[in-house]
């Protein structure tokens, strides 16, 4: 699909995503080897976005499965649609009546009914969930399993089977096999340790906060309305904030939100007043905000705090 690593990078940039060389290399490998990619990194560095962009760049159809505690197979894979089956039984009652009318005994009637069983357990009544949809897709697809660390350990084990063979067995229908192998992206925020078995099957990609140059490129690409000088200032400030010991570090998406709000407010420069009114776009904890306020704006060296560490 891609001819070279540079080709991957160009395709992603074409979709407004600035990949590091590492990202491009791993995606290229994933396409070549047909392996799932496990993406880790702090929240908001563009893990989910990467999957979306990948699907757009390659024309794969995206199927997204958001994980949460208690997610099970019936939510992820398939479910029988009881209500529809009921409705059909009701509507087909006449026909069933005809069918059973000629039965001579109860056993005969049961046999006749059993012969028609397939009607009710066919794919018609199968409610497909994202995993099955990705497997059954006729066109190349991309399966995004988002925040896998939130799901339970059992679900993770179940996923192993699907990811290694790309096939699923439904007892009533038999084995459903993937027509086209989907590409798979798993993302994790590392709230819990994933099993070694899962990690073994994936290529690993750690996306960290971008360097100052990369982040500047991202801001300029996504919020071109922001002047170049202001953009640089904003990015530098965000990078300095990340040096502090904060409860939650500002993510790239928050940098973008902040850049947009600077545009909306028509800010000419980043001064105390602007920062004070917009800092909550970047920082979401009161303690962090207080800490950041103490950061000297004029100080254009590395992030230094005026009062040093606050006692805790």
């Amino acid at each position: 699909m891609f001819s070279s690593i540079q080709g991957v990078a160009d395709a992603l940039v074409g979709q407004q995503y600035i990949p590091s060389e590492e990202i491009a290399t791993v995606l290229f490998l994933a396409e070549r080897l047909g392996k799932p990619v496990l993406v880790e990194g702090p929240a908001g560095v563009g893990k989910t976005e990467l999957a979306k962009v990948w699907s757009q760049a390659t024309g794969r159809r995206l199927f997204r499965l958001q994980c949460y505690e208690g997610l099970d197979e019936s939510k992820a894979l398939y479910e029988w649609e009881y209500a529809k089956q009921m409705l059909y039984t009701q509507l087909l009652r006449e026909k069933l009546h005809d069918l059973l009318a000629e039965a001579t005994s109860l056993a005969d009637a049961a046999d006749r009914l059993a012969r028609e069983e397939d009607v009710f357990f066919s794919e018609r009544f199968l409610l497909q969930r994202p995993l099955l949809r990705a497997i059954q897709a006729d066109v190349p697809s991309l399966l995004l399993i988002d925040e896998i660390d939130r799901s339970d350990a059992e679900f993770e084990a179940f996923l192993l089977e699907v990811l290694s063979d790309f096939q699923v067995s439904v007892p009533e229908l038999g084995t459903l096999k993937a027509k086209v192998h989907p590409a798979v992206v798993l993302t994790s925020n590392n709230t819990r340790e994933l099993s070694d078995a899962l990690k073994r099957r994936c290529l690993y990609l750690y996306i960290d906060y971008p360097s100052i140059e990369q982040e500047l490129r991202i801001v300029q690409l996504k919020v071109p309305e922001l002047g170049p000088e202001l953009a640089r200032q904003a990015v530098e400030l965000v990078q300095r904030l990340r040096q502090l010991d904060l409860r939650k570090q500002p993510s790239v998406s928050e940098t973008l939100d902040w850049a947009r709000s600077l545009v909306t407010l028509n800010a000419a420069a980043i001064d105390e007043a602007t920062l004070r009114s917009t800092i909550t776009v970047l920082l979401k904890h009161e303690r962090d905000v207080l800490r950041a306020r103490r950061l000297r704006l004029s100080d254009n060296g590395a992030g230094r705090e005026e009062y040093g560490e606050t006692p805790r």
């Binding site: 690593i5 060389e21 590492e22 290399t25 791993v26 290229f28 490998l29 070549r32 080897l33 392996k35 496990l38 880790e40 505690e69 009881y82 209500a83 009921m86 339970d152 350990a153 059992e154 590392n190 709230t191 819990r192 340790e193 099993s195 070694d196 990690k199 073994r200 099957r201 994936c202 290529l203 690993y204 990609l205 750690y206 409860r247 805790r312």
Partner: protein, 457 residues
Amino acid sequence: MERRLVEFVAALRAAGVRVSVAESEDCFRAVEAVGVQDRTVFRDILAASLVKERRDLPTFNDLFPLYFGHGQPPMLRPQDALSEDEEELLRQALEELAGRLNELLRRLLDARALSQEELEAMQRQGGPPPRRSPRSRDWRARQLLRALGLKELEELLNELFEKLAALGMSEEGMERLRALLGHNLEALEEQLRHFAGQAAARQHVEEQERRPGPDLLDRPFSHLSEAEAHALRQEVRRLAARLRSRAALRQRRGRRGGLDAKATVRANQRYAGVPLDLRFKRRRLKPKLVLICDISTSVRFCAEFLLRLIYELQDQVAKARSFAFIDHLEEISDDFNEHHPQEAIVSVLRRLPAGHYNTDLGQSLAQFCHTKLDAVDRRTTVIILGDGRNNYHDPRLDCFELMKRRARRLVWMNPEAPHLWGTGDSDIQQYIPHCYSVHKVSTLAELAAAVDRLFGA
């Protein structure tokens, strides 16, 4: 190349990175698919297919250059820097010095790097391989250079340049020669450093293979060396994984609660009220925990492993709050919520350094009852980890009693051997009657069993 990769994987494993056979196979396939032209790309490929854990990346970055080079420029030959006349002069000067040239200078002049066999021969003479640190790597490289004659080098060079000057070589020509020799010396040193690092890594691999299987699980905490404790820390993760799957299974197979009428009616509305899909109440089996850990010197290891286990099992626990005490109590939940258990433990131990015989359990319990009692409700299991040695202070049984009344269970974990309970300043016998259960947890295996009991019904 393939051998190199296999050796590299072995070195990673020895350094504690978990690399499976399937992964090294993937790595080969990946290298095949992309090729090895670009060094950074090659690095990224190996990282993506071999290292699945962020904390292992530094190890990877450390070992990679040892096995796949720094991309150092090769040594230069004198012909590259000197004109033909100057070369002639150099040859004359060398003839005059003949017999006194040492190995090192000859190599520098001929731009001859050491071959693998020569390196290994030197290694054998040089005694045991160095330890795995950059410092000892540098040191070893210097040592090998000295073996080649680094000491005499300066003198020889001075003599050589004097001769050259006498023969009439231009100042500028000599400067060029000097720079060239300097460059070659650096390159040679780099090669040696590189070799020393590799030897260290290889040595480490062999040591790992020789090490007997870990029956450390049954080694008492009080007899652990720092190295053994380190090995056990790795073990905790595997142990936690096992406990987790057991706890999860119990959660699933545990008796379901009674019929949830409300949920059933709601769920079956779409079947015209025919109850096809029964809903049951979920039993809450995930425990709520409050840990109160003595982290004075005597029980420090034990406290560390308990905290590690509990926080590795975070997803099987509804809520965990933890407190540490020596002479006073301090809440340490925040350390664990904000950092990885690894870092959190280090920061807590640094914040609360142990003193001498200043443990005051009674005072700490009183403090807990005074300020943190809201952490305990009827669904909470309170775990107290400590040897109950109170330095003859008031045990404050009244506070203990109060905690027992509020909590679902009060569990005591004691790392001391039972025959010492109640001797000297130990107040444990007075606390025991109030406890739901008391466990002796002097080894990791016992600790794991005690933790496992917490997740039972």
